[in-house]
Amino acid sequence: MHSPTFSMSSTPLEPEVLKKELLDSHAGALATFEGWVRNHNEGQPVDQLEYSSYPQLAEKEGQRIVAEALERFEIDAAIAQHRVGLLPIGGIAVWVGVSAAHRGAAFDACRYIIEEIKSRVPIWKKEYYSTGVTDWVNCHQET
């Protein structure tokens, strides 16, 4: 069993490099998830996107999530990485990979990790719309 790995990166994510770290002759199944910057959100055209994080707590919480996945599911290894900084359309915002002897556990753990990252890790997303307006996603104000 590998050590839990979650990290933030300010440079483009490299799925092939991350995947190699999971390659293990024991494993038979690899499930991965990639989140890409979309060109729209709730109907508004998006030009680019900026992720920022609370780095000390983000890495800590991310590593807890990967450790939980290793404990809950019959998997060999898991890696997750989240991008921060300014991303263009089509850029990779997050990558999660899980290797396991059997595919069910690989899928379940991969999904668990991405769901928990999205709900628990202190990372924020600022969208830059084609109109010139920007918005912090999920922080809509009443005013």
Binding site: Y54, K60, I117, W124, C139, Q141, E142
Partner: protein, 79 residues
Amino acid sequence: MQLTITYFALLRDQRGLDTETIDSPAATPAELYTQLAEQHSFTLPSSALKVAVNDDFAHWTTPLKDGDTIVFIPPVAGG
């Protein structure tokens, strides 16, 4: 009591700075946020936030100590 507050995302924009150290009588993060929200017209209700003290998640009612670093965490949106 000296408290350091670090701001992220929308709260950073609304406060107009990253971090500040203030002298506050607030005994808990809940009291501190009420004070700051009033002072700086923060729009997010505390019910939408989480709070961290010294870089780990904490309760709104955790007693604050002199020198603590507090972060109010706006709704996250990773992935």
